[in-house]
């Protein structure tokens, strides 16, 4: 499930970028680097018809406050970590700031932060490391003003990879923290 989440998010982010009229010439075929972009202005939703055109007669975009709205509004639901690390770097901060803005808009919304690791570690340690990563995200969101009571954490250790290869590229994708909205 998390796998779909990430890829869907990427598509939606792409759509957002297109709709915002940002210069993307020459980027066809590559995923834009979300982290290089400023946080989206609040209120923006996917109103383009680039992907998933809304059925005629329906209001454009997902219902406010929903998971779909979250996915459409934030830069990404996932941040990535280096091996054995759990620090929030400047790129991660941009993503988490966009999540904090969405959470500020919907004060009733709650989130669970999932912490994950790559397969190249021992099981118990990875459970602890995933918890540490999830808490690093939580602490950063709290520092941005999100009430800690709205955030829960869960570590899946190395139990739920999104990239299934046994190579550096896959491991890099799996060392992650994912923000999941809870309805």
């Amino acid at each position: 499930m998390t796998k779909e989440t990430v890829s869907v998010n990427r598509k939606i982010t792409t759509a957002l970028l297109l709709s915002a009229g940002l210069a993307l010439a020459g980027c066809a075929g590559t995923v834009p680097k979300e982290k290089d972009l400023p946080p989206q202005p609040s209120g923006v939703t996917t109103s383009t018809t680039t992907i998933n055109p809304p059925p005629v007669g329906q209001p454009a975009g997902p219902a406010p406050g929903t998971r779909a709205d979250f996915m459409a509004s934030v830069l990404a639901d996932t941040i990535l970590f280096d091996t054995d690390r759990y620090n929030i770097d400047s790129e991660d901060q941009g993503i988490l700031q966009s999540q904090a803005q969405w959470l500020a808009r919907y004060p009733a919304a709650r989130v669970t932060i999932e912490g994950h690791c790559d397969e190249r570690g021992t099981r118990d340690y990875n459970l602890a490391l995933g918890e540490r990563r999830a808490n690093a995200v939580k602490n950063y969101l709290v520092s941005l003003g999100v009430d800690a009571a709205r955030i829960t954490t869960v570590s899946y250790g190395k139990e739920r990879p999104v990239a299934l290869g046994s190579d550096e590229a896959s491991w890099a994708k799996n060392r992650r923290a994912v923000t999941i909205t809870v309805q």
Binding site: R120, D124, L127, E131, R160, S166
Partner: protein
């Protein structure tokens, strides 16, 4: 030259005393020589002509491997039984097969099983035809019998002979319920192993592990148990929630394991008898890496609070937890020394996973691993002289060191081996191996030389093996 058994060990009856004083396997096996055999026995029955066709003769000694012949265990009377085989005659073959399987898998012996040997007469059990076995180059001979009582219970006799000396080395008898017939075979194999190796027995024991199915991106992980040879396999959980890292209590009555039952990883203590389980602690944080104390009175667990993981100890029956570590790093795992006085554990307080030792009350924490790379999942040998662990330097490999961190050496060399646990006698290390790319897992055993490595047969993929002690 044929010599008669030493008088003190001489068998004049076929364990008649065993029937007079039947023992259940919940009690220590009675050594037949402690009881006075009585009654007329067919010890004088002439041995049948041994099949001389050398289909698969016992091979001579290679290195220190002792060639052990294990013919079918004859029965005095073919009776139906609920045990495997349906009758005592077929069961006698199955018993010998199980013993053969146990003894062939540890690298010490070169057993030859019942399917490659002539049958023996009932009367030969206590009066082996040694010349025939010498002709087959057998050095050791395991003979036994099986009998069914009217109540269905089985009596199994087990005898170990030195063929060259023509003398008996050991004997035991077991009375078991039909469904426990394999335990009689394991006890017999244990007797042979212990007598010939000088080590403590370990075959009559069980393994808890995680059975894995499904693709890498969506693995189903179920708690499962089996005998040490893979028999009597049973799933405990249905796989709806991911289960991980089980540990048998020393008395086999409970299993502590991790489950994502309510969404977060928590340790549960599962009671095998009642099928009930409870949380190891009501503490709020996620808990993982359960470990029993050698006396079964305590459980160590690791709990993350606000992202920081420390090791705690709680009475096995529940109650207040004691926090044993307090570093800002991840302190996780933990394994008691056999005397219960010390705990070896893993911490990344130095910046990477390394192995530390502390007193059982948490005092005097000292790092012992200083050989480069990362060192994880330490497990103290039941003998106390070794610590097995996972060494991470690129690949994950199983290694051992002494309790001071010296004499580190690898036992395996594969892409990803982790989570060693010990056989009850501290001679074999069990771990699981993950295959690159596919993520498929399997349980392996390796002896302390690192030379004898074998994969355990499991019905599906398997990880997180944990051996329990030898059954009483």
């Amino acid at each position: 030259m044929r010599s008669t058994p030493v008088t003190g060990l001489r068998v004049t009856g076929l364990c008649a005393a065993l029937l007079c004083a039947p023992l259940a396997l919940s009690a220590p096996p009675v050594h037949a020589q402690q009881a006075a055999p009585k009654g007329p026995q067919p010890a004088a029955t002439p041995a049948p002509a041994v099949d001389s066709s050398p289909e698969e003769d016992v091979v001579g000694t290679i290195n220190n491997d002792a060639a052990i012949a294990i013919p079918v265990f004859p029965t005095d009377e073919m009776l139906p039984t609920a045990a495997e085989g349906g009758n005592t005659e077929a069961l006698g073959r199955n018993l010998a097969r199980v013993i053969f399987g146990d003894l062939k898998n540890n690298g010490l012996f070169r057993p030859v099983g019942p399917d490659a040997l002539p049958r023996i007469a009932y009367g030969e059990v206590t009066a082996p035809t040694f010349p025939n076995w010498r002709a087959r180059s057998a050095e050791m001979l395991v003979q036994g019998f099986v009998r069914a009582a009217p109540d269905g219970r089985l009596t199994v006799g087990c005898y170990l002979y030195d063929v060259a000396l023509g003398s008996e080395l050991a004997r035991q008898g077991y009375v078991v319920k039909p469904e426990e017939w394999r335990r009689a075979a394991h006890k017999c194999a244990d007797m042979v192993y212990a007598r010939l190796s000088g080590e403590s027995p370990f075959f009559d024991s069980k393994i808890a592990y995680i059975a894995e199915t499904g693709p890498k991106g969506n693995r189903r992980k179920q708690l499962a148990i089996m005998d040490s040879d893979g028999a009597n396999h049973r799933f405990i959980t249905n796989g709806q929630s991911t289960a991980l890292t089980p540990r048998y209590s020393p008395d086999y009555s409970k299993i502590a394991y991790l489950s994502f039952l309510n969404g977060t990883p928590r340790i549960y203590v599962y009671d095998i008898g009642t099928g009930q389980q409870r949380l190891v602690t009501e503490g709020k944080g996620p808990t993982f890496a359960p470990r029993w104390s050698p006396d079964g009175k305590y459980i160590l667990y690791s709990m993350a609070i606000a992202g920081n993981t420390d090791i705690y100890r709680v009475p096995a029956t529940g109650g207040d937890s004691v926090k044993l570590t307090d570093s800002p790093g991840i302190d996780v795992g933990g394994s008691y020394s056999p005397d219960g006085q010390r705990i070896v554990f893993e911490s990344d307080r130095s910046g990477s996973q390394q192995v530390y030792v502390m007193n059982a009350d948490g005092t005097n924490q000292k790092r012992i691993s200083f050989f480069g790379g990362r060192a994880a999942t330490p497990e103290w040998s039941p003998r106390g002289d070794q610590i097995a662990f996972t060494h991470i330097a690129g690949n994950l490999r199983i290694a051992v060191m002494n309790p001071s961190g010296g004499d580190m050496r690898y036992l395996t060399d594969s892409w990803q081996d982790e989570a060693p646990t010990w056989s009850p006698n501290g001679r074999i290390v069990q771990f699981f191996r993950t295959a690159k790319t596919t993520g498929k897992t399997s349980i392996w055993q390796v002896d302390l030389t690192g030379r004898n490595e074998r994969r355990l047969n499991t019905p599906v993929d398997a990880s997180d093996p944990a051996w329990g002690p030898v059954l009483p």
